[in-house]
Amino acid sequence: MIMGIVIIVLISFTNLNWASYYTARDIGETGEARMLGELLATAINNVYANGEGYSIQLGEDKINFTEAGNRTSTTGLAVSLPIIIDRDDQTINISRRLRTSNDSNWTTTIRIIPENITRKDPTSEYPEVTVFNNGSYIIIYADAANIDVTT
């Protein structure tokens, strides 16, 4: 009987510990996903503010889409790719799936200043992810599977 009580209490601890693990991981990764969006928004706003000819490159050390989109590894952020930049709303939308919410999609938006934004495939001159101001548009050189601009 006493052993039974001890086993029940221990099992309940295990359940709570798993829940704590998933919760901590979810919140941490959600914060990282938000930071990823903030980083992109800062780059876009800076390029816009600095005028024609200015560019910023966010290399793989800053934005790693493989890890951002990874849903299984502990280093993954489970971000739903592509990251959507809404030109009309002037926002960057970051979505990710939460384990503690039955894998449902949770989205946050980060405001950006410029309206005239477009995306092009990366080139040797402008590798992924480069944000460039050509005087008329803020051009984001990124793969469409990673970043997409919508209206």
Partner: protein
């Protein structure tokens, strides 16, 4: 000659018997209390997670304003009985910036709903080991039914 081997004192038998009787009689109460503790701990964890997620602007209905959302306190009140279950309402006291307080009734806001839903999800997970998407306001366990509400502080 008197055989003294393999004998225990009557005191030991009495004490062991007493412990056994106590364990048997208190077992249901221990189970019930353990269930309550587990649910409250899970609810607090879920509510904290919900507050953090909403603080970072995340929601299931699209992006929202950011702001510091905090779980300041929580209370547990027995409100009713449902069948053989005692119904307890868990009230979360939240602080948030005015931009997120879209209604004076906390439970009618997106923040309040997220916090309450996450709390219910965590209670459900604590007893079933499964995350579910939507839960009605009332999670049943063996002895209890837990409902949630929230208020601004």
């Amino acid at each position: 000659m008197k055989d003294k081997r393999g004998q225990v004192s009557v005191e030991l038998i009495l004490v062991t018997g007493l412990i056994l009787v106590m364990a048997i009689t208190t077992y249901p109460y221990i189970l019930k209390q353990q269930e309550m503790n587990k649910a409250v701990a899970a609810a607090r964890e879920g509510a904290t997670a919900g507050a953090a997620l909403r603080g970072m602007g995340f929601s299931t209905t699209g992006g929202n304003e950011m702001g510091i959302v905090r779980l300041e306190d929580m209370t547990l009140t027995k409100t009713n009985t449902s069948g053989e279950r005692d119904v307890y309402e868990i009230t979360f006291y939240l602080s948030a910036p005015d931009s997120l307080k879209t209604n004076s009734n906390c439970w009618m806001t997106s923040v309040g709903n997220t916090v309450r839903m996450q709390a219910r999800r965590h209670i459900y997970y604590a007893f079933t080991g499964q995350w579910v998407d939507n839960l009605p306001d009332g999670v049943n366990t063996t002895y209890y039914r837990f409902t949630t509400s929230c208020e601004w502080v």
